[in-house]
């Protein structure tokens, strides 16, 4: 009978090697190791074995059963792996096909720049506040030391609003919020004010009648022009790169004294002189200065005790410089083909 055990063994192992699918394996398992399989049959035939050989026979069958079970497990793992790799091979795709897009929109470049600039100033200790766009002439001009009929008023070509007794305008700058802020609080004052402004101005590639400014104001004891210079330099380097050189020069605005024009070295030509900087090597990015004592007096601050500085910058210009936008009109034509190019997460 032991010949029979060996025959079954040979046959089972040969067939197992042939079985190359899960189904064939299952069938093999049933045939040999199943309840009515060959091994069960062999064990049943123990009765036909002479009694003295039975223990050895029984051991041989059991050993075979164990061997086959082990070989089965091994083979099964092989087959499964091979089947999986076949499936995976069949599932191969052209990985260059487009993905299923997650539709994400974008913020307007002016909003992005306002966020970037105000965040820099927030971290320098300035609070963001906003104010009205439709504004009294008092706040837009008089309180800022720009009297009626003064030639300085011509600098701001103003759009006026229909009113009765009081002069009401579309604010031509964000500076009225200097007055409103100081009227509401006592020093120390440190604010930045983003917002829309309007001018009665012919529109061309660098001028818009509707634009955005960011105003800054710091007032307290011991606020100096050296702080102004340091703060603006820090700002410019954070926005335009640490390697930027800065230039402070004298300029005139009626609500500051001394007045400042703040420029950075041209990033397009590195100060050599090019079309963007009109050959000067410098790009003016904002006006600033020490708050005029009369302005402090207008809001009830004592100019002998307090000093302050203020600055104002055009947001569109910053975007144009930073990203090389050639024409300011692109911002408000609202063309999605332009705006979509700014769809990015802020750095």
């Amino acid at each position: 009978m032991s010949g029979e055990v060996e025959r079954i063994r040979q046959q089972a192992l040969a067939e197992l090697q042939q079985a190359s699918s899960t189904a064939a394996l299952a069938e093999w398992h049933g045939r040999y190791l199943g309840r009515r399989g060959e091994l069960t049959q062999l064990m049943r035939r123990i009765s036909q074995v002479p009694p003295e050989e039975r223990p050895a026979y029984g051991q041989a069958v059991n050993a075979l059963k164990e061997e086959l079970a082990a070989r089965f497990e091994q083979r099964e793992a092989e087959v499964k792996r091979s089947e999986l790799s076949q499936r995976l091979a069949a599932e191969a795709v052209d990985v260059t096909l487009p993905g299923r897009a997650a539709d994400v929109g974008g913020l307007h470049p002016v909003t992005q720049m306002i966020r970037e600039v105000t965040t820099i100033f927030n971290h320098l200790g300035f609070q963001t506040v906003e104010g009205p766009e439709v504004e009294y002439g008092y706040y837009a001009f008089d309180a800022l030391n720009i009297p009626q009929d003064h030639p300085a008023r011509d600098v701001w070509d103003t759009i006026f609003i229909v009113s009765d007794q009081k002069e009401i305008v579309l604010r031509p700058h964000t500076s009225p919020m200097q007055i409103r802020t100081m009227e509401r609080r006592q020093p120390p004052v440190r604010v930045v004010v983003p917002g829309r402004c309007y001018r009665f101005e012919a529109v061309d590639a660098t001028h818009e009648w509707h634009f955005h400014q960011i105003e800054g104001l710091a007032v307290d004891e011991h606020i100096t022009m050296a702080d102004l210079k340091g703060t603006l330099a820090e700002f410019a380097r954070q926005l335009f790169g640490q390697e930027r050189k800065v230039r402070f020069r004298c300029d005139y605005f009626p609500f500051v004294e001394p007045g400042v024009d703040f420029a950075i070295d041209c990033m397009f030509c590195r100060g050599e002189g090019c079309r963007v900087c009109k050959g000067t090597g410098w790009i003016e990015i904002l006006g600033a200065g020490m708050v005029h004592p009369q302005v402090l007096r207008n809001v009830g601050y004592d100019p002998e005790r307090y000093t302050g500085w203020a600055f104002g910058m055009g947001v569109e210009r910053l975007v144009m410089l930073k990203y090389g936008v050639p024409d300011i009109r692109l911002f408000y034509q609202g063309d999605l083909r332009f705006l979509a190019q700014f769809n990015r997460a802020l750095a």
């Binding site: 096909l97 897009a101 994400v104 929109g105 974008g106 913020l107 909003t111 927030n122 200790g125 609070q127 963001t128 506040v129 009205p132 766009e133 439709v134 504004e135 009929d149 030639p151 300085a152 011509d154 600098v155 759009i159 006026f160 609003i161 229909v162 009113s163 009765d164 009401i168 020093p187 120390p188 440190r190 829309r196 009648w209 307290d220 004891e221 011991h222 100096t224 022009m225 050296a226 702080d227 210079k229 340091g230 330099a233 230039r247 020069r249 004298c250 300029d251 005139y252 009626p254 004294e257 001394p258 007045g259 000093t307 408000y332 609202g334 063309d335 999605l336 083909r337 705006l339 769809n343």
Partner: protein
């Protein structure tokens, strides 16, 4: 203002280049916007002297001129009528670049030797036009007799011109002398002032009368007789042209020259054409007119200050003279006006007459009345130089309130207090001295002060801060250190409104919308177009009811279509969509802008921060995975259902809305905590069409009042415990009347399930033979979960029963089995 560099260097001799001068002036507040070159093309052109003139053998109107230019000696053929032996001329050699004298447009040509009527011409003597100096091509340009023969013309005549921007405070620098003073102070050099003539005062009574002393502070009148009017000398014409003025005749040119040099405008009258030969300075009388030098007949209102003779106006004071009394070749006696006027009056008149002149630009900045004397004496020196034989026969100077230098006292500590850095006393005093402020450092009440006498031409220096600026700008702002502010800080709190706007923007971007910023102004046509048929104005503008009052309106809009501050974002976004649909099939945009709701006429409007969202055209473009489909109401509703809970708006509801601009069956009011905060709906096809969008495209719009949202109260998330046990999903198919809103069915389910239902989601709507006509079956998947236990079958059965009860009672709903 244009300042020729040669002129400037005559007053302040310096080796600095034009570029270096421009740099110094710009840093100190006189911005040089450009430097232009005169003579940059003048290669191979030299100063020559005409040795002899011979007739041309073959032509009567041509001559042969032999010109000596030192190393070059040439014979040229010329037809210039004014050429004569001994003249100094500009001689161009072959290879020189010249402007074509016969071309109307400026056209550069290169000179070649040529043969004219059989005689070889080796070069050319040049006209002003050929040199690019003017349009003059009648004859050659004759140089001054001093011109050095053999010197390149560029060295002799070439110049650079600084173009300065004169800010409103810089009236003291609105002249060559003024810029020279600035430059002198910056580089530490005294100005060499031009020569002036002594002028003894004396003249007949009544030569000049000032009837409006409030508008005319000073009047210097000088009578000059035996004047011979003719062209002014070449050097003066050259300077006038370099500074941007046209030479007229010697008398007028003198007045313009003095204005450019000193900043003091003047006017010369032909005295013989003044009635009674006298001047009255007064306000215009009703109905008075004048024809000004530009040939325009102008009506004068009674606010206008005029220079009149005994009868009628002969000039608009400080702006422009009259044509009738202008200087002509026949003029023999000149009455020269050098006056000072009140600045605001001049500004008003120049604006009212729309006549900005070199004179008015200076007067309206507030000229120093003392300058009038300097102007008059300088002019007389020039008269005597240019017109030998002319005689000053009368001088009057009416100046009732002479302006004196202002004394100013600045605490010494003011410099470090404002600048954050200090400079040595000697340096500060030297700078102020260079500015001619006569500084004096003193102790007063135990503290150091600097006393200065501000020259009267520095009307911009009135307070200590002005002096600090003077010190800082002359030393240079580059000397200031960079620091950061010291001292007390303020809490950097960001307002709820700003935070809300930011959250709204970020969420909408993540939801696939792109932010636009539109002009916040509209016109009446756009507002009417919000009503189908556009017969009148709708009773609502987007979210907001039409105000009782007039909308906020500009007096002087840039364009008529930007005249009214918008009362809603709807027209702005429709316009943006219309533009974008020309180039895009899918538009998904939003704006977090303001709307402007009127209050009283003299009150500022209510500027409300509002969100507008608009979807139009296709929702998804067709690609590998999606079919394209048109947007509809539910696309934007889904956006709001994402947005509002994310920003903490609880209890979001939508209720049907009738709105003039929206689809009658696809519009809803948006409620938070039962309060209306916005609207949502498909835009009415007729409104869509009125905004030039294809009415077959669906446009969905929503407008949310963000300020209202804050007033209603946004809430932080209310946390509920997260269960450890498996949630269980059960489906409920509810048959209700067709008219029953789905929300109410969902509400009934929620009410029945109580706290154990964590979500109720509608996933199918069925209408058909399996249910009665006029009914619909809504299939909801409800997820149940208890925080503290697994839900048993019995509990679920009880819940189902309670839900069934609520459905029956609240919406007359039956569960389908």
């Amino acid at each position: 203002m244009k300042v020729p560099v040669r002129w400037l260097k005559e007053l302040v001799p310096t080796e600095l280049s034009a570029r270096e001068i421009a740099e110094r002036l710009t840093l100190a507040g006189l911005e040089v916007e450009a430097i232009t070159e005169i003579g940059s093309t003048w290669d191979n052109i030299y100063v020559g002297v005409v040795e002899r003139i011979e007739p041309h053998p073959n032509a009567d109107r041509l001559v042969l001129a032999t010109v000596d230019a030192g190393t070059h000696r040439l014979t040229v053929v010329t037809g210039a009528p004014n050429i004569a032996p001994g003249q100094k001329v500009a001689l161009a050699l072959p290879g020189a670049t010249l402007y074509d004298g016969h071309s109307v447009e400026p056209k550069l040509i290169t000179l070649k030797p040529s043969t004219i009527r059989g005689v070889r011409s080796e070069g050319m003597v040049c006209s002003e036009k050929e040199l690019g100096l003017s349009d003059e091509h009648e004859g050659i340009m004759v140089l001054h007799a001093d011109a050095p023969v053999g010197v390149p013309l560029r060295e002799y005549l070439g110049d650079q011109v600084l173009e300065l921007e004169i800010t409103p405070n810089l009236v003291h620098a609105f002249s060559v002398v003024g810029v020279a003073r600035e430059l002198g102070a910056l580089i530490g050099q005294r100005v060499r002032y031009p020569e002036r003539a002594p002028l003894p005062v004396g003249g007949p009574e009544g030569l000049v009368t000032i009837e409006a002393p409030d508008l005319c502070y000073r009047f210097v009148g000088v009578v000059i007789e035996d004047v011979k009017v003719g062209p002014s000398p070449w050097w003066m014409q050259q300077r006038l042209q370099a500074a941007g003025m046209r030479p007229i005749n010697n008398v007028v040119d003198i007045t313009n020259y003095v204005m450019l040099e000193w900043g003091q405008p003047q006017h010369a009258f032909d005295r013989d054409r003044l009635r009674e030969g006298r001047i009255v300075v007064r306000r215009a009388r009703p109905g008075e007119k004048i024809e000004t030098l530009d040939g325009v007949l102008r009506e004068l209102d009674p606010d206008t200050l005029v220079i009149a003779d005994a009868e009628r106006p002969v000039g608009i004071a400080g702006v422009m003279g009259g044509l009738e009394s202008e200087i002509t070749e026949q003029t023999r006696t000149v009455l020269l006006e050098t006056a000072n006027f009140e600045m605001r009056s001049i500004r008003r008149t120049a604006r009212a007459q729309r006549l900005r002149t070199e004179a008015s630009a200076r007067f309206e900045r507030g000229l120093d009345p003392n300058l009038a004397w300097e102007g008059a004496t300088r002019a007389i020196a020039l008269f005597q130089q240019l017109i030998p034989g002319c005689r000053v026969t009368a001088v009057v100077d009416i100046y009732p309130n002479p302006r004196l230098p202002r004394q100013l006292c600045m605490p010494r500590s003011e410099i470090p207090r404002l600048l954050g850095v200090d400079f040595p006393d000697e340096l500060v005093l030297e700078v102020l001295d260079r500015l001619e402020f006569q500084p004096e450092l003193r102790q007063e009440d135990g503290r150091a002060v600097i006393i200065v006498q501000v020259p009267t031409y520095r009307s911009d220096v009135t307070i200590a801060a002005d002096l600090v600026e003077e010190v800082a700008r002359v030393i240079g702002y580059h000397e200031l250190p960079e620091a950061l502010p010291l001292g007390r800080t303020v809490p950097v709190e960001i307002s709820p409104e700003l935070r809300l706007v930011r959250a709204v923007q970020d969420t909408l971007v993540a939801a696939g919308l792109t932010e636009v910023i539109t002009y916040p102004m509209v016109d009446e046509a756009a507002l009417r177009a919000l009503l189908p048929g556009a017969a009148t104005f709708p009773d609502r503008y987007g979210l907001y009811p039409r105000p009782e009052r007039e909308l906020v309106r500009a007096v002087n809009p840039i364009r008529p279509e930007w005249a009214i501050m918008r009362p809603s974002l709807l027209p702005s976004l429709l316009r943006s969509a219309a533009e974008n649909l020309k180039f895009n099939r899918a538009v998904a945009i939003f704006e977090t802008g303001k709307v402007y709701l009127p209050r009283g006429l003299d009150e500022l409007p209510d500027e409300r921060r509002t969100l507008g969202c608009l979807l139009a055209g296709a929702r998804h473009l067709r690609d590998l995975y999606h079919e394209e489909r048109p947007v509809d109401y539910f696309d934007l509703k889904g956006v709001l259902e994402t947005l509002l809970p994310r920003i903490g708006a609880p209890d979001l509801r939508f209720r049907p809305l009738t709105h003039p601009s929206l689809h009658p069956g696809r519009a809803a009011e948006v409620l938070v905590k039962g309060q209306p905060v916005g609207i949502l709906g498909e835009v009415h096809p007729e409104v869509v069409e009125a905004f030039e969008i294809d009415p077959d495209l669906r446009v969905v719009f929503a407008e949310i009042d963000l300020q209202r949202l804050l007033e209603v109260g946004l809430e932080p998330p209310r946390l509920r415990p997260v269960s450890r046990y498996q949630p269980i999903d059960q489906d409920f198919a509810v048959v209700v009347d067709e008219a029953t809103p789905a929300t109410e069915v969902a509400d009934a389910i929620m009410a029945g399930a109580g706290a154990l239902a964590v979500s109720v989601r509608l996933f199918d709507i069925y209408r058909g033979p399996a249910i009665p006509a006029g009914k619909k079956s809504l299939a909801f998947r409800v997820t149940f979960s208890a925080p503290d236990r697994p839900l048993s079958d019995e509990e679920l059965a009880r819940l189902r029963e309670r839900i069934e009860g609520h459905l029956r009672r609240r919406v007359k709903g039956e569960l389908r089995r």
